[in-house]
Each structure stands twice: as structure tokens, then as C-alpha cells.
Symmetry: C2
Subunit: 393 residues, 2 copies
């Protein structure tokens, strides 16, 4: 399995911290927002004597509340369609292992969440990708491009909507194009929708389950990590109306016995949190988004499209090589004894050469800290030896 | 992936319960003993505001305490040798995926924990097994038998010690034979030692790490599930001194981001539990073991060797087919409106025909309940249509 560019930087960040340098982490999707109070209270008031296995498919009452939660988004699923997993990661892994045979291919628009490739490798499957372009705001590449990739080995199409890393939100017409392709070739549509609460443009969030005629093809990937700031509890879900797929997924679930019990208790309580909680998170991200994107585009040579959802943006920097630049930030640079940890975008592309002048920035810090991070970036670009000068598009 | 015989029975058990029948679960390794009070207290006093990702390799303070815990068993490992996983299941899965290529073979004495096969399938690897015999108390088959199985594709040897499902405890000379084989062919030795606290004969527990000259070959699998009655928290560990293996394992760990945070908090607190806790568990299992095994061997036609560790036994029953018998117990039989759920031993063998007249029984219930279960078994065998009569060995 290949090493991701971001992971190679972790030791450099640790070294910088050991030297007493403050490092702003814009590299990971770990929100700084509080976990819902109800979740924390639920954990603190556990009165069990034994922390026993939960059912392999997840705790029934949690699954029932999840079904109701999806109904609010007009995702018409039953309790039995929902299988609880150890985070979205396990959901993707089990989806791939259940639906794909070694050598099978999945088509993915990129930049894409880097671990999809790791999970595909686990399943012995191969990711074929078409790069979206920053100049087009990372809109879905033309569907004809995808169609050209289809071979007899193509078994699925994977999207992340709202998108990590770009923050792109697929439009109705793009989703319809994906649906038509999925239908025409009878593919699985793996749809990672863990950021559904975070859509900022007033445009509707379109779930893969809203698309008509492919109900048996959709495998929805979900997680409570991002929406409730509960990354550590490892609770996600795989949702599908396809019985055969569920039967296969359950075999993997049974082999690993059980998803985390206490995490499910926290997640179930979170579903009963007031609307205010998610509204507060939403408002916070809306403000940060504006602050960050405006700030980025004010820096000479930097360009960021406006992300429409999630809490990331992929920005273009005037640098020779984003891997080198991100390493340099941690190893060589400091501004008032502080620096920033950015994710080189090369890790989100499989197409060679792509992402070389792009980074992913997560706005999971408070505005004040984002402001400092922007200042550091600006100062860094002034002195970075690999700076490129060119027309600002 | 094949369906396990035990899983096929779960719907029958549920149906029996729906009919108002009491079902004694002797089929699973879910102890009824309480979780340590310190673990429950640690969870109840969590004062974090955010349930954030833990490091991919696990929380440092937990790993430090684990290292000290292993030292008590003369397992000489450093903190960096320990990688925390989501239960022993994930540890086995990551071990296989990191050490084995598709088509590679692992040698396993059987009967063996059924999910090893599932995890091998995930890694694309193949399990080759040699059956141990109930007449020999499930001692390790002759090492020459194993050696005959070795091909250029053989990459590892997997043991579970103390053993699930048989309760067998490998002797020093058996462990030395395994060591010699591992050394001679430079194999990995995957050693599942989650039951190390439960050795009942005064004979020493011999860890794979106690074997000299194969320090780089050993991958130890551990879990807190059984020793602290914490199956639901999903915390285990993979321990190896082999840097290259750890590097590979860490890639899988990073892809799934993080093991469960709250589980690690509970497990860390458990390591500080007084010796009394484990002594009480031990004494309880010793008593149950005697009670169950004596009771089994008193039933006409039933034979159980004396398990030396863990909390299972594999017993031979005078029946035509243990899959049929176990299904019949749940579907057709009742004694005073109660019945028992046993695990057909066929699921623990891959060699065809083996386990047909054997069942695994877990002594995870109180003596009073075990007594009722024994009575039910005795009555059931009197009327089971597929009863076989033969000499009692």
C-alpha cells in the first residue's frame, strides 16, 4: 500500500512541535467544535455492569433512530437497510469487499478522499479516476470521460457529496448524469455523504437515494464523526436496499463481531440533540468558510474556488511542488515561532502530475486561528525558494 | 465468504425466544462477569469536550501501560512494538493483510477460531489445517504432519494459546516444536493469546514471545475483551518486534484513522484494576470448568476432555450431526420451556467430516445456569431422533 503524502509529513510536524513551535493543523478533518452535550451525558450515565458485544449489525434502537434521521432528508430507508460500522472507513471497506472481486474497477472523480484507494487495495480492486479541474471549481468532469473508462471489469462509481477534499456539491443535473451511467451499465453507486449537514449555498443536498431507478445500486456511506464532532467514537453506517449486498456485508460484520458499543450509545444520544446544535455548527462553518476563502484569494498568487459544502477547500498555490512546500513549512519555516500543516493535494489524485500546486485546507479551527494561519501562509509564500510567478487566474 | 454454522442458528434462537422459550447461550464467548469498576468509572468521568480521533497506533499512555502489563508475563516488548486495534479481530485482519499476499498459505492446527478463515479470505490467503484429535485431548498434531503441508507459498503458522475452541494449552515441548518449524522455514508465527489469564493447570503460560530465536517472526494478537469482560469496547492490540511488519500494519491503521477512543479509556483504566478482579474471574472459571466438565462426562455417551485454559470445551456427543442437533435443540426441543444454544464444532474445522459429533460449549454462565443447561442436554439426548449409540471412550 502506498504511503500518503500527508502521513509522511506527520513526523516533521512532531519535530516542529518538539522544537517549541506552534503548528496550526489545517491538514485533517478533525473539527474543533464540541461534541453534543447529550452524547457526553449519555456516556457519563452508562449504568451497565458489562460492556458486552452489541449486535453485529448495530444496536437496534440506534438503527431505528438513524432511519428516522434519514427520513428527514427524504432518504426513504428502513431499519433493516442500515448496518452500523466502525466509522465510515469500515463502511467503505466492507462495501468494496462485498461488491467487488479482485481486479474489479471503480470509477472515481478526483481529487478524492485518499483512503478510498487504500480500501480498494484491501478489496483487491482498482480505482480509475478522472480529474476535476480547479478552474472549473471542481465540477464533475464530463460524463463522456467517465463512460470512456468503463470496461467489463467496471463494477462501481464512487462519489463523495458534499465533497472531501474540494467542498464541491453535485448539482441535480450532475447527479442525474451519474444516475444514468449507473443505470446504463448496472454499476454500484458508492455514495459517501457524511457531510450532508454542511451545504452552504441554498442548493439542495441530493442524496444518491433521491435518484430514481437505481435504488438497488446505491450503497450509502455515513458516519457521525463530522456532524457531531465525534471522530473518536468510530461509528458509521452502510445503508443499502440491496439485500444481496447486505447479506455479504453482514458476513464481514459478523467476522469482526461488533461495532463499538459505547460509541453507539453516544451516537444514539446525538441524534436526539436539539436542532440548535447543528445550526450552530453550520453557522460557524459558514463564517469560517467566508473568512478563509476571502483570505486565501487575497494572497498574491493563491486561488481557491468557493467550496459549497463540507469544511475543506482545495486551493492553488504559486509553488513548484506542494509536497515540498508543505514539508518546508514544517521543517524550515516559522513566523513568530508558528507554522502551518497543510495537506498536499497530490495525495488526493491518482493521475500523475495532478495536485502539484494544490493543497487541501480544512477550516476546522476558529477564525482567529485561521487568521494567523493565513498570515503564516502569506509570509511563507514570500520567501519560499520554490515560489512560482505567473498570471493569477 | 462462507456462512458459519453458528450464524445460521441465530434466527432459530431468536424464534425460540419469541415463542417465550428461555435459551441458555453456551454458544458465544461473551462472559457474564462484570466489567472492572475502574473501567466503568473511567467512562463515567470523561471530562472531554470533544471525542476526537486518537492516534492511529493508539493512545500513548494506554500503550505504555500495556507494555508494563506484558512485562509481568515476561513478554519483553517496548511501547513502539504495540499497535492498538479495534479488537483482536482487527489485529488478526491487519496481521494477515500486512504479512500475506494473495495465494499465500497459513498453517493452523484445528479446531480453530472460525473467523481466522474469514480474515484470511479478506487477505486473499489460504488456511491449511491439520486436525487435532479429541481422543488426544486436542494436543498439537505431530509436527511432521505440519511440515508436510509446507510449500513455497507457506508464510505463517497460526496458533491460539490458550485455545479457543478447545481450551488446550500448548506445552513447552510443543511450543519448542512450533518454534523450530517457524525458524527452519522463516515463517511468521501469529499467536492469539487473548486468554492468557485463564490457565488452570499450574502449567506455565508460554507466550510466543518466550520462544528464543524467532523474535522477528512473532506477531502477537491480544484483546481486552475476554480478560475484562469488555467485548463491546472493541480494543485489542497487535504486537511485533518486526519493524517492517509494523510499518505495513500502520498503513492499514492510518487508513481506518483511529481505534475507538472511549474503549481505550476503559481499557487503560482496566489495566489499573486490582489483582483481586482477575483472581475472582479466575476462581469463578475454575469452579465452572470443573462443574461443567464433570457434568458433561456424567451424561451417557458424552465425552469432554479437560480444557486447561480459556473458557470453552469441545465435547463429543452421541449424535449423527451436530449441526442438525444444535438446530433441533432450538427448533424442536424444550425442557420445562427452556433450551440451549450450542456451537456445532463443524464451524471450527476446515477438514471435511470433522466436528460432526462435536460441539463447543462456553462456560460463560453461572453454575446454576450451567446445571440447568446440562440437564437440558441430558434430556435432549434421550429423545433426539438422530441419537447414535456406541461405546463410550
Amino acid at each position: 500500500m502506498p504511503d500518503s503524502p500527508i502521513r509522511k509529513l506527520v513526523p516533521l510536524a512532531n519535530k516542529a512541535k518538539e522544537m517549541g513551535r506552534k503548528v496550526y493543523h489545517l491538514n485533517i478533518g478533525q473539527p474543533d467544535l464540541p461534541t453534543p452535550q447529550r452524547a457526553l451525558d449519555a456516556i457519563r450515565s452508562i449504568d451497565r455492569k458489562i460492556l458486552e458485544y452489541s449486535p453485529s449489525e448495530g444496536v437496534l434502537s440506534f438503527r431505528q433512530k438513524l432511519a428516522k434521521y434519514y427520513h428527514k432528508f427524504k432518504i426513504d430507508v428502513d431499519v433493516e437497510d442500515i448496518i452500523v460500522t466502525a466509522g465510515g472507513s469500515e463502511a467503505v471497506t466492507f462495501a468494496f469487499m462485498s461488491c467487488l472481486d479482485p481486479g474489479d474497477e471503480i470509477i472515481v472523480p478526483e481529487p478524492a478522499y485518499a483512503n478510498y484507494e487504500a480500501f480498494a487495495i484491501v478489496a483487491g480492486a482498482v480505482i480509475k479516476s478522472i480529474p476535476a479541474k480547479i478552474e472549473e471549481g471542481f465540477a464533475l468532469p464530463s460524463i463522456e470521460e467517465f463512460e470512456k473508462l468503463i470496461t467489463p471489469k467496471t463494477k462501481g462509481f464512487m462519489i463523495c457529496n458534499p465533497n472531501n477534499p474540494t467542498g464541491y456539491l453535485y448539482t441535480q443535473s450532475e447527479m442525474n448524469e451519474i444516475r444514468d451511467l449507473v443505470k446504463k451499465y448496472d454499476l454500484y453507486l458508492f455514495s459517501d455523504e457524511v457531510y450532508r449537514e454542511f451545504c452552504y449555498t441554498g442548493a439542495p443536498y441530493i442524496s444518491a437515494f433521491h435518484l430514481e431507478g437505481i435504488e438497488q445500486n446505491v450503497i450509502l456511506i455515513d458516519s457521525v464523526s463530522k456532524r457531531y464532532s465525534e471522530c473518536g467514537i468510530r461509528v458509521g453506517a452502510l445503508i443499502t436496499k440491496n439485500k444481496e449486498v447486505r447479506r455479504n456485508v453482514m458476513k464481514f460484520c459478523q467476522a469482526r463481531l461488533s461495532p463499538p458499543l459505547i460509541g453507539q450509545i453516544a451516537a444514539e444520544a446525538s441524534l436526539e440533540e436539539t436542532e440548535t446544535y447543528l445550526m450552530d455548527s453550520y453557522n460557524e462553518y459558514v463564517e469560517r468558510r467566508k473568512f478563509l476563502i476571502d483570505g486565501l484569494n487575497r494572497i498574491d498568487g493563491v486561488y481557491s474556488p468557493i467550496p459549497m459544502g463540507a469544511f475543506y477547500t482545495v486551493a492553488r498555490l504559486p509553488v513548484d511542488d506542494s509536497d515540498k512546500f508543505c514539508a518546508w513549512l514544517l521543517e524550515e519555516f516559522q513566523y513568530e515561532n508558528e507554522t502551518i500543516f497543510l495537506a498536499p493535494a497530490t495525495g488526493f489524485y491518482t493521475t500523475p502530475g495532478y495536485g502539484k500546486d494544490e493543497v487541501r485546507i480544512a477550516y476546522v479551527l476558529k477564525k482567529k486561528e485561521l487568521g494567523k494561519a493565513l498570515k503564516i501562509l502569506e509570509e511563507a509564500l514570500k520567501v519560499y525558494p520554490g515560489r512560482k510567478y505567473r498570471n493569477h487566474e
